[in-house]
Symmetry: C2
Subunit: 422 residues, 2 copies
């Protein structure tokens, strides 16, 4: 095989989303259009773990129909991993192992689909490849429901969870409002976002005007103050008859203590697992006496492909496609980014940023996106968020259920005699 | 106004659903077609409480467009109430007050849209009307996500929550499966159903064949046994790499103790509010050491109009329409029911049953719908459930969000000088 035509490797990393497979489809379909330049396209089974253990999937064995169906299938079709490669100094062996596997399979392109940590890894792989005289083109593909990557206007995966949270908040609020006179007065919805409150902010889109639910949003960016919070809850119930609260899992007090950690032990003496919503609901019930209900969306929110944002699906596909095109244009150690050209009407394009500028930087919700009292979103925030949840992209259904696809996952024959235990 | 043309009263009762407003639309649109027989159609603001306090809404002031939009709007548009009228012997005054209000507004038809308790109330109102020489036609309209009303093949509201739970289980399972190698191994989804496991059973539709998630369903009908349960969890993780569990909020041990009650106190000394999912997740983490995630859908499930079952929406409308038609045909103290004529292909029609046979009877999941081991659903159960989640009935969207409607809610001028405190 001539040097010019090297193989490629794609892996999914970290928490999966409703649209990460759309990015995979973008990579695969685009690579297939460039068979003159890219040989085989392999995927890591369970992300980077598949590379380390030489457990590769031959995407060439998947039908065009399966790849197209990835655009409407949530989760990580090739498997993802929570596995962060340590720094080069601490565990050089892991990076050397990656290069060993890539060399054995003539892999010249590394497409890594993930968040902050993954962009850091992709950056390091590019560096170590050069050091080991095995040049490899490393392109990061942004993905995170947390929307906390810098440089890109937004992160594929976020728009869909934002839509899910906004829709669910609007729906649950109608439920609570209709029964508040004789039943539940306060509803608490817990959403993801340990450090950045983007998802919680999206809950704010459920309302259109003052007084609309959600009445309170608790952001990780704003220190929680019980007195002010309870006063606001009380005021909402008095004014509107009920109160809807969206709370980020990362809501914390000024000293950095997560509210979720206030959860105690159960009857078996087990400490409660996570869950800030029940803590907040208990606080309200005990201090104000209101009947509360609470929901924890957890994985439901980030896998809800049935209510994905059409814009998000398009952008997820676009960054996958752009990753391959950037690689073929000779770029290295970069990440395609979403560039916003206009909010109303919404216009966007694809640019790119150096991985060095993306890795390990966390973009939080800016203060001017949050109202002065810390409990809501401002007009600029609304202007930013609204286009990201635009459009529906319903999956096909069969027998009342979304017709999601599974890959065949045909393994690539191993070439190395060495094993590796990640 | 001639006796022949009396007014009508409609009220929503108990926990609302994604489609109860479709029943309201069925009642209102059908009544409007029979202006020669039915005068005004009033609705109780906040359910029966609106009748007791003479707080009536004139549905005639709502546009045809608003009424049509109720078909795609969740929650209770007129307000619902958790307010159970006591027995005739215990609180005759409440029934007499109802008749007083109905008499003042020349109401000859009482349409009561609710579950078991409400059917009992409607039945009693019919009886007391006769006793007080104020004949009133009382028609119950079935509504409950719990699907536990007898005589009817299914209950409007259930099909949509069933679809939500089946879809969400399928989606979350894809998420868990893709990350199980290095992250969460067990996912627990808590769903509604305190006494009957119909909603939990619907989670079983997420899978098509043996080994598909959900791997375990915990029904209220099957006493929880920790040893057998944990052994099954362990086996699933060993065989499939992960385990997805759907648990009914009503899951209980043989002595009748709800698992949710095992929740203890938090750091503030507050007892935990509800939540069987965290209890089950803690048990697994402590006893088996698996990383767990859990979700509590709570109101999200019963308000999720965005993913409603088309069949459910149609049936909800049909029972509303049938209620008016039954009344005009001279029926009294009956409830329209869904009659299943065939499962494959699914064919249904509307019949009716006496309220006396419906009131206070709870239909649980029959034993032969649950697998021998108590952890899954059988083929007959699947055959029963599948048609109920068929079809999508998406609401219209604006700016990325469902365009739900709110009523004007114009009050009917009061005619009584007496007040009533419910």
């Amino acid at each position: 095989m001539p040097k010019a035509k090297r193989n490629a490797f794609y892996a999914q990393s970290g928490g999966v989303t409703a649209v990460i497979n759309a990015s995979a489809a973008g990579v695969i379909e685009t690579a297939r259009k460039h068979r003159d330049r890219i040989g085989k396209l392999y995927a890591g089974r369970d992300g980077i773990v598949g590379a380390l253990t030489e457990d590769l999937i031959d995407t060439g064995k998947e039908s065009a129909r399966t790849i197209a169906a990835l655009k409407h299938t949530p989760g990580g079709a090739f498997g993802s991993a929570r596995y962060k490669l340590k720094g080069l100094d601490h565990n050089r062996a892991e990076y050397e192992r990656l290069i060993e596997v890539f060399r054995a399979h003539n892999i010249g392109y590394f497409f890594y689909n993930g968040g902050n940590d993954s962009m850091d890894t992709a950056h390091k792989v590019a560096q170590i490849g050069e050091q080991l005289d095995f040049p490899i083109t490393c392109i990061g593909i942004p993905k995170t429901v947390d929307n906390d990557l810098p440089r890109t206007d937004c992160c594929p995966g976020f728009g869909s969870v934002a839509k899910y949270v906004a829709v669910s908040t609007r729906e649950a609020a109608l439920d609570v409002a209709s029964m508040a006179r004789t039943s539940t007065k306060v509803f608490v919805l817990e959403v993801m976002g340990r450090h950045a409150g983007w998802i919680a902010a999206a809950g704010g889109l459920a309302g259109n005007k003052a007084g609309d639910p959600p009445h309170i949003i608790l952001f990780p960016e704003i220190p929680f103050e019980q007195t002010a919070f309870l006063a606001r809850v009380k005021r909402c119930v008095r004014n509107y008859g009920y109160c809807v609260i969206v709370v980020s899992e990362g809501a914390a007090t000024a000293d950095g203590r997560f509210l979720a950690e206030a959860g105690g032990k159960d009857a078996f003496g087990h400490s409660q697992l996570g869950g800030v919503a029940p803590v907040v609901a208990d606080m309200i019930k005990q201090e104000l006496g209101f009947k509360c209900h609470w929901a924890v969306a957890d994985y439901l929110q980030r896998s809800a492909r049935h209510i994905a944002s059409k814009v998000d699906v398009q952008q997820a596909y676009a960054v996958g496609k752009a990753a391959v095109e950037l690689a073929l244009k000779g770029h290295n150690a970069v990440m395609p980014i979403i560039v916003r050209k206009s909010s109303r009407p919404y216009k966007w394009g694809i640019g790119h940023a150096p991985l060095a500028e993306v890795a390990n930087v966390e973009k939080k919700v800016p203060r001017d996106f949050i109202t002065a009292d810390g409990f809501g979103i401002t007009a600029p925030c609304r202007k930013y968020l609204t286009p990201l949840i635009a459009g529906e992209a319903y999956p096909p259904y069969r027998n009342g259920l979304p017709d999601y696809v599974a890959i065949r996952g045909v393994p690539v024959p191993k070439k190395l005699r060495t094993a590796f235990k990640p």
